[in-house]
């Protein structure tokens, strides 16, 4: 009887352990460029398994050889990620969970307050708010902070004489994960010559991820929100709050606020 129970528990435990390992790998790579490589490998693995089941010997042989060689290639491709992953092992919670609506609204208030103060002083700023896709790659390009989001802290970071004012900040949950982060620049030809580097960076990160970016132009003090590779014009404080709420609170997976084509010239 004991053996019978163990025969059921053993495979269940094995599958649960495998599940955790796979899930952590997927979460770790989610939102990075390496995730695309991982997706490609997963497709190849599925083809390999199907070829095994159906007995396609030639395909099977080719894929077996390919996987044998590709282990070294993968270690080179994922060198950085592997190093970071091993270093971080055991530091993360298995299943993280989102914030409550009231907490998100409080964050929006802090961000809104800070950008309006910075706008009045014509101090440029770039704030990327992480959503579903992890911005880990960009967080690691900056200086790690892990500090609670407050309007005062955001203003301090972007004050021109401070060491962290260059680049953008990235928020994760209710924390500022990092400051002075480098964002990818948009190479959208529609924006050439019209916009500056800060605008280009705001668009770049929203083209590659689902992040929402709030920024202030240094030249004009104008506030803009970027999402899905487009700018959403901000006419007043209320509109900014509403747009951020619609993007972050209601249907976080969908773009509730329709970006306009106004900046797309």
């Amino acid at each position: 009887m004991t053996f019978f129970i163990w025969d059921i528990i053993k495979p269940t435990l094995e599958i649960i352990i495998l599940w955790i390992v796979y899930y952590r790998i997927l979460v770790f790579f989610e939102g990075t460029r390496a995730f695309q490589v991982l997706k490609g490998i997963t497709y190849l693995l599925i083809v390999f398994l199907v070829s095994q089941i159906l007995g396609f010997d030639t395909l099977n042989w080719l894929l077996t050889k390919f996987f044998a060689i590709s282990i070294i290639a993968l270690m080179i491709i994922f060198q950085q990620e592997l190093r970071q992953g091993l270093a971080r092992l055991g530091q993360q919670h298995l299943f993280s969970f989102g914030l409550e609506e009231s907490e998100i609204v409080a964050i929006i208030e802090e961000v809104t307050m800070s950008v309006y103060k910075l706008s009045r002083q014509k101090i440029g700023c770039l704030i990327a708010i992480e959503r579903e896709i992890k911005l880990q790659t960009y967080i690691e390009s900056g200086v790690g902070l892990d500090a609670k989001i407050t309007a005062e802290l955001i203003q301090s970071i972007f004050t021109p004489t401070t060491p962290l004012h260059d680049g953008g900040i990235i928020t994760r949950g209710d924390r500022i994960a990092a400051a002075s982060c480098l964002f990818p620049l948009s190479d959208n030809p529609n924006f050439s010559k019209i916009i500056g580097t800060r605008h280009r960076a705001a668009l770049g990160i929203t083209e590659q991820t689902d992040a929402v970016v709030v920024m202030v132009s240094e030249e004009t003090g104008e506030i803009s929100v970027a999402s899905d590779g487009r700018f959403i014009p901000i006419v007043n404080r209320e509109r900014l709050v509403n747009i951020l709420k619609s993007l972050l609170v209601i249907q976080p997976n969908k773009k509730a606020a329709k970006p306009t084509e106004s900046a797309k010239q």
């Binding site: 599958i15 599940w19 997927l26 979460v27 989610e30 997963t42 398994l49 993280s96 969970f97 989102g98």
Partner: protein, 39 residues
Amino acid sequence: MSLKEFVKEKITHNIGLKIIALGLAVITWIYVSGELINR
């Protein structure tokens, strides 16, 4: 947040990735078990 909401949040967060990971885990286990039995 009640316990029910907490558990629901924990289960539904990143549900897509969790399902993919579970699928991969089951496939791996079946494949490896089959290989081991063949030996």
